[in-house]
Structures are given as structure tokens and as C-alpha cells.
Symmetry: C2
Subunit: 199 residues, 2 copies
């Protein structure tokens, strides 16, 4: 690091703070930015500042949005009877990519995790109950992760919603598609066996 | 990509242009920058702009520098009799990290590569000859790469310098340290055999 001038050293240090970017990768990226036309490098810098300035959370579903309501909440073609509850905006992006869901979302902003000091009150669960009261919701699909925190968060929300008239479902878990059984872990196989269904 | 608001989509697109950063990594980086404190994200953006503005090439050796002369050219403790010729600034950084060299550098800015339309005149070879005339240089160490282009660039420079009084050497090539012979490629092994020396 001492072998670079100060300005590039500063850039390398900031790049190396990004997740999955080590010292060597940061150096390579900095060298690339150095050789880019000034215009392109400035666009990158500007897009960081713009994004931090513009981006906020949708006031209804807490998805990432440039406006008060996100694109999906604004889209009248989406099925307002279905709400898919996910942990993070990236989870919503994954489901959208799959094209398997035409309803709306509710982003919790995390999972219940006592180890990290995150309880139900730190998530957007009260806001979900508000939506059930004010919107014509027919079904809540719990699509939190299938790890311990995701499972217990789904169980907690299912418990809270038990007193309401709304139908609550959980996404299926089992062997991933294209999966070779010998590479699938035992917990997943056990779950797949238990959840077997007629064909 | 369509599942993100415009401002984050722009950032993802710019990040994905960096080398070794694919679509998924760009998304993960953008999500991280989104969750960073605004201050940190601004520092990253600013360090890009600053670096593009400040950084130039040392007027003597063409290393990256924030000033007219780079740190090494300015350092009177470095041995001015030795010049190590490398292809790129990153090569110089690697040699500096090894701590094996206390002389000065000359950065060619590339290699002779007819396939890419790069000839000797596109490199800083004339400037190297100028330095030999004006500085008290005792030895030129050719440390270009050991691939075809690096080897032929070294051979070309050695030919040009043959008419001068300066001593010209080439860095050794052979089996890397800690290398297991069974994993070393045949060209390297052949070279290591040919360059064997008494112990």
C-alpha cells in the first residue's frame, strides 16, 4: 500500500471496505478506475451520491423506492389480495426475478434474532397488521428464510395473525430444483421427506 | 434489475462495469453502500473524484504520483545507479512489496504487442534512453513479464541498449518458491532446467 500515491491509497482503502472486496481486488479496481475515461469514473461517483440522496423506503411496503410509493404498490395490475412477507429488499428482488408472484410485498427489514438484539418490535410487523386492517388482504405468504431466524420469525408472525381472518401460508421448502440428492444436506432431505405430497 | 428503483439500478450498472464485478456482486455492493452511513458512501464517491483529479505520472519514471516527481524519484536514499524497467505501475508496486529492490524504476506503460497495435514508439523507451544519458545509471534490470510480449519487449530493449555502456540484466525466471514441481507448467520447468546454477 505504501507504494501508491496518497490519492489512490485513499480510494483503495474505501473500496476494500466493501463486502467481498479484499486488498488485492481493491487495488485492481482502483487501477481500472484510474485508466477509465474521467467521465465514466465521475458517473460512478455521482451514482453513489445520487442513490444515497434519492433512495428511500416505500411508505406502504418498505421496499426500496425513489418515490413515496414503490413501483409495485403503485401498480394497479398487481393482486392486492396477496401480500408476500420477506426479510430484505434483495429477497423481494429474487422473487420478482422468478416471476412466480403477482401480488404485493411487505419487507420486514430483518428477522427476529435475540443474539443480535433484534426483537419483533424492531421489524415492520405492526405495519403489516395495519395493512391487514386497512387493505383487502386475502392471504399472507411468509417468505422469510429457511434458517433458524427465518423460521422462527415466520412462526411468530403466523401466531400474531392467527387471531385475524386472513389466510397465512409459508413458502415450501425441500430439495432445490436441479439438485442432485447426494449433495443435498440432511436437514433439507428430512424436510423434503416430511413434506412429501401425492403426484 | 427491473425490480430496483432507478437510482440503485444506475449504481448497479456502473459497478458492474468494473473488472471482475458481475451483476450479482454489483447488486450486493450497491445494497451494502445503501446501508452504509451516508458519510462513508460520500467518502467513497469523493475518493474516486479526487484520485482522478490528482493522480498523474511521475515526469521522470512514469510511476503513479500525486506530484511532479514520485516518492521514489524524490527519495535520495534510493540507489540512482539501478533502474528497474517494468510494464505497469502495479508491477512496480509488487516489486516494492517484495522489498528486494532499492533502486529506481522506469514504467514503460505497456508491452510491445503487434496484435494490439502497440509498437516500441508507444512505450516510454526513448525516455529510458534519455535517462541513461542524463542520469548516472550503472545497470538496467528488465523486469517485464515472462509471457511472449514481456519477453520480446525485454529482448527489444536489450537490443536498443546494446550500443550503450550500461549493463543490462533480466530478472530470473524458474519454479516459483514454495512450488510443488508436479504443478509447475512445462515451459517454466524447461526454463528452470536451462537456467540451473551451481550451489
Amino acid at each position: 500500500m505504501d507504494h501508491y500515491p496518497g490519492s489512490i491509497k485513499t480510494l483503495i482503502r474505501h473500496l476494500a471496505r466493501l463486502p467481498g472486496i479484499g486488498q488485492k481486488t481493491a487495488e485492481r479496481l482502483a487501477m481500472h478506475i484510474l485508466q477509465q475515461p474521467a467521465d465514466e469514473a465521475h458517473q460512478l461517483a455521482r451514482s453513489i451520491v445520487e442513490m444515497k440522496k434519492k433512495l428511500r423506503l416505500c411508505s406502504r411496503c418498505f421496499a426500496l423506492s425513489d418515490d413515496a410509493l414503490c413501483r409495485i404498490c403503485n401498480d394497479s395490475a398487481r393482486d392486492a389480495h396477496l401480500i408476500c412477507v420477506v426479510e430484505q429488499p434483495a429477497d423481494m428482488a429474487s422473487i420478482e426475478k422468478s416471476g412466480a408472484f403477482r401480488g404485493r410485498y411487505h419487507i420486514l427489514g430483518g428477522v427476529i434474532s435475540p443474539m443480535d438484539g433484534i426483537g419483533p418490535d424492531d421489524l415492520k410487523i405492526a405495519e403489516l397488521l395495519d395493512r391487514i386492517e386497512t387493505e383487502a388482504v386475502g392471504e399472507i405468504i411468509l417468505a422469510t428464510g429457511t434458517n433458524v431466524e427465518g423460521e422462527s420469525t415466520a412462526a411468530y408472525i403466523a401466531g400474531v395473525l392467527a387471531s385475524t381472518a386472513v389466510k397465512v401460508t409459508r413458502i415450501a421448502s425441500g430439495v432445490p430444483m436441479g439438485g442432485d440428492l447426494k449433495y443435498v444436506d440432511q436437514v433439507t432431505l428430512k424436510r423434503a421427506m416430511e413434506s412429501r405430497h401425492g403426484i
